[in-house]
């Protein structure tokens, strides 16, 4: 499944309009501790978080994640958005909290390790 498919199914907001969403999503990871994502995130994971700090983009690049979904209707900080566009990291948003979003992702076949 690609980010385009997931965004359509889950009615996700797309913050990075110019960044392609055709990367395959290989799995998922949910955490608000960036040190934890550095330790446990895997290549191709879709990362579910409420952190909006610019460092989330650097972590996504470091771990080669498929993209980031911000939950609870959170908006990225302006600098985060700039960096995501520059680094071509897809940044999406969900109205729901992490629990509901992860449940729905799981139902669509996106699973953890």
């Amino acid at each position: 499944m690609t980010l385009t498919d997931l965004a359509a199914h889950l009615e996700l907001k797309i913050f990075t309009a110019g960044v392609p969403l055709d990367k395959p999503v290989l799995g998922g990871y949910a955490s608000d501790l960036l040190s934890d994502v550095i330790g446990h995130g895997r290549k191709g994971d879709l990362w579910v978080t409420m952190q909006v700090h610019p460092n989330i983009v650097a972590v996504a690049v470091l771990k080669d994640l498929a993209g980031i979904v911000l939950v609870n209707g959170r908006e990225p900080a302006p600098e985060t958005l700039e960096q995501a566009a520059r680094e071509k990291v897809p940044l999406l948003g969900a109205r729901s909290g992490a629990f509901d979003l992860v449940g729905r992702l799981y139902g669509l076949g996106v699973k953890g390790s």
């Binding site: 608000d32 501790l33 960036l34 040190s35 934890d36 994502v37 550095i38 952190q51 700090h53 610019p54 460092n55 650097a58 972590v59 900080a77």
Partner: protein
Amino acid sequence: MALRRFRADLHIHTCLSPCGELTMSPRAVVERARAAGLDLIAVTDHNTTENAAAVIRAAAGTGLAVLPGIELTTAEEVHILGLFDAAADLGPFQAEVYRNLPDVPSKMKFVDDQVIVDADDYVTGFSPRCLFGATLYSVQATVDLIHGHGGLAIACHVDRESFSIVSQLGFIPPGLKLEAVEISPRLSPDAARAAFGPFGPLPIVRFSDAHKPEEIGSAVTDFLVAGTSLGEIRLALAGEDGRKVIPS
């Protein structure tokens, strides 16, 4: 001006912090700090400076110097220490922090444990705020706020697995103008460098983060400075004019 070694513990809570013991009264803090051989301490409660003046007054004439400070919780749940000049008027700073500290339902507060006291340890009030909550400030905005009020900004207990800039943000954002990074008493400076790298040019300091009297002075940093003012500590952290952090 003659430089000498001053021993400092610049991260100490009082009974105003919800997690600080009620025994952390101004007189007890001063007494314990003197017994521990400290020259300089800072009062750093969570998101508040309201007990700092009482501790400064309680220390008057004892030879112990006290800086007012704060341990701010950023929106990312990173703890950042702000240290200020002893003569600074922190009223406007505090008002701004409270405006950016969201209120929570009363049952989640620790009102009974947030005690405002005077220099003689008399209770003068209880803070009605959720002092342990996160402010609305990002890490960058927090550092800017502290600097805007003439203070020094230090990332707290970077080796801890919670509320540290490393645990919350993975690494220290490049370009963030901190004056130092603090490591917790459980780690030696050498072990910190081995675990986290040299933190670029940032000096490493080690303070107790005391919540109980017996913890005061359990981790200290020695400064080679001419006195105990904030300006001297600023010079030492920057390694200027011969002032420096003495490696422990």
